[in-house]
Amino acid sequence: MTVHRRTAWLYLLLLLIFISLLAWPTFVLSSSVLSYITSDAWQLEAWSQVPKRVLLQQFIHGYQQSLMIAGAAGVVAVLDYLLMSRLRITWWFSGILLPLAGLALAITLLPSVPAAIPALVSTGLLLAVAYRLFDLLFGRFFRRTR
């Protein structure tokens, strides 16, 4: 029983770290793809006009600054797992809290930025996919039955 509980905690911790680490790169990826689709991606100009080291610095700066929010996204993933993963029926919807959290974040923190909603919701969706994949690949090592 104790061993089972310990592995469950370990799984939650790994899920939290995984989603937290992935949050900023996913946000950058989804925002860049959306910018590309709308043909207004400054990243395209920057790629040819600015040294890659400058882009990398901006990316790393964003990574550092977003750690708190990324950590919160990790917590949302853990909560989602705890709420949804116990029953087979709810498991099908697990991960849904991440795009919802993205929507809430966009509405509360960046209400005057129209692009924030699609960017943060799509980030949440991508993180949900990553979370589901993580669960499918590694979840079985940490639990005996669902």
Binding site: S39, Q58, Q65
Partner: protein, 483 residues
């Protein structure tokens, strides 16, 4: 009542004295290349023209150019190969550098040159001028070459005479004693790094310096300027100076009146910023020019806004106006598909440049093969041609045999082919430059859209300090040449 009138009078007098003290009365003009081969006649022409404009505005102009007034060649220029053909031109085509064949050298003809631009000589002069004019506004115009920085943007350089350099960070240090506004116009490659002069710490580029400093540069810290590209030797040299000072003087370099009035707010005087905006709109060159306030906008964005897509609508500001004007000029329809159409047009222009570059590479290869074949044939017949600095060669030259060989070379069928290929190569160079200029116009439109959005974002999301900083840069740029 009398006392208050006296107080008013005293205040007015002190205010007018303050204005008188701080107004620009002096300009610093630094120009020329870093050595003879890097000192194009077009730079000299620009320096002379700018000097005339500044003097006409009543400014005292301190000019420093190449080796100053020292005896010795310091400028090169091109002669027209069509009208100024030398009898040995066929041999130059086959053996030598066709570009060098048309190059001539002379001493500079710039008036009132105070000294050379050698770092060791220029630096103490700059120090003295910056200290002497510490309480006066000062304009620095640099017309020459620059080098890139592989670390922070403030390590870009002005390339001075005798292959010496001065970095933006070193110039920043020299500016320390100044207490009044300092403005600059830099037209060299990678000149954007000099916007760091406006900051308290030039390597960080975050907090503005206490005294207002702002400027205008032909390019960013990461790109070559048009003046450094192939067009340096061509007659239609279109660097930043060409348009910027045309706007300030009302006349183009050739003397023609400019096509439209750059005075955007119609207050009767053209400010430096208005001249810059005129340049952004009018310059058909490969430059993506920028001012310090634009550089600030580029850097300003907080991390959470930087990566987000920008909205489709354009706010109402100077940059949006410029974008619309340029779009109309280049037949880009202003509708829901504008952004997509712009990208497609840019892609098409860039592909055309690439196609021409490939074609050029193939032509260059053919030229080289043909030159080797011709050289082999000529050397087989006249082995002395192998050593152009030998006594045997000198004898050939003195006897007039070289000219005879040149005449005979002209009659070879392969030579005719070589001339055609070399002409084709020159024409491809020009076509490529034209296409690059067109591609830059689309890049410029994309950049103007972005600046319009950034300015709007700063108004909506910037802190009070950031907005104040931006406004102080704008007001620094909004100065005329003289008040």
């Amino acid at each position: 009542m009398r006392k208050s009138l006296m107080l008013c009078g005293a205040t007015a007098l002190s205010l007018s004295l303050l204005t008188l003290n701080s107004r620009a009365s002096e300009a610093l003009l630094i120009g020329g290349g870093y050595n003879l081969q890097g000192s194009q006649g077009q730079i000299e022409l620009n320096v002379k023209w700018v000097q005339d404009i500044l003097k006409a505005q009543g400014l005292r102009v301190d000019t420093y150019f190449t080796d100053g007034s020292e005896a010795g060649l310091d400028v090169h220029y091109m002669v027209n190969p069509g009208t100024d053909t030398s009898p040995l031109a066929p041999l130059a085509r086959v053996f030598g550098d066709w570009t060098l064949e048309n190059r001539r050298y002379r001493e500079n003809e710039v008036d009132d040159v105070l000294g050379s631009t050698r770092r060791g000589e220029l630096e103490p002069r700059l120090r003295e001028i910056f200290e002497r004019t510490a309480d006066e506004e000062l304009l620095l115009v640099y017309n020459g070459h620059g080098s890139q920085s592989y670390s922070t943007p403030d390590q870009v350089t002005m390339n001075l005479w005798d292959d010496t350099t001065l970095t933006a960070s070193e110039l920043h240090e020299l500016l320390e004693p100044r207490r009044s506004a300092f403005r600059f116009v830099f037209t060299q490659c990678y000149s954007g790094g000099f916007h760091r002069l406006a900051y308290a710490d030039s390597s960080q580029g975050s907090e503005l310096s206490e005294t207002p400093r702002c400027g205008f540069t032909a390019e960013s810290a990461y790109r070559l300027a048009e003046g450094c590209s192939a067009s340096i030797d061509s007659d239609d040299y279109r660097d930043y100076t060409t348009f910027f000072f045309a706007a300030l003087s009302g006349q183009e370099r050739g003397g023609d009146i400019i096509s439209r009035d750059p005075d955007r707010n119609e207050d009767g005087m053209t400010t430096l910023r208005e001249a810059h905006l005129f340049t952004l709109e009018e310059a058909y060159s490969t430059d993506l020019s920028r001012s310090t306030s634009e550089d600030y906008l580029d850097q300003w964005q907080p991390w959470y806004l930087r990566w987000l897509p920008t909205p489709a609508y354009l706010p109402d500001n100077d940059y949006a106006d410029l974008f619309r004007n340029l779009a109309v000029r280049h037949d880009v329809a202003l509708n829901g598909k504008t952004r997509r159409n712009l990208r497609l047009a840019l892609e098409e222009a860039e592909q055309a440049v690439q196609t021409l570059a490939n074609e050029q590479q193939s032509v260059e290869q053919q030229i080289q093969e043909l030159q080797y074949r011709l050289q082999y044939g000529l050397i087989s017949q006249w082995p002395e041609l192998m050593g152009p600095y030998t006594g045997a060669y000198q004898s050939m030259s003195a006897s007039g045999q070289l000219q005879e060989i040149a005449r005979q070379t002209e009659n070879l069928p392969e030579y005719e082919q070589l001339v055609q290929l070399q002409d084709q190569s020159a024409s491809l160079d020009q076509d490529m430059l034209d296409r690059e200029r067109l591609a830059t116009q689309y890049q410029k439109m994309i950049r103007l859209r972005r600046l319009a959005q950034l300015r709007q974002q700063l108004e909506e999301h910037g802190s009070a300090q950031q907005q104040a900083d931006y406004q102080s840069l704008l007001s620094c740029e909004e100065a005329p040449l003289t008040r």
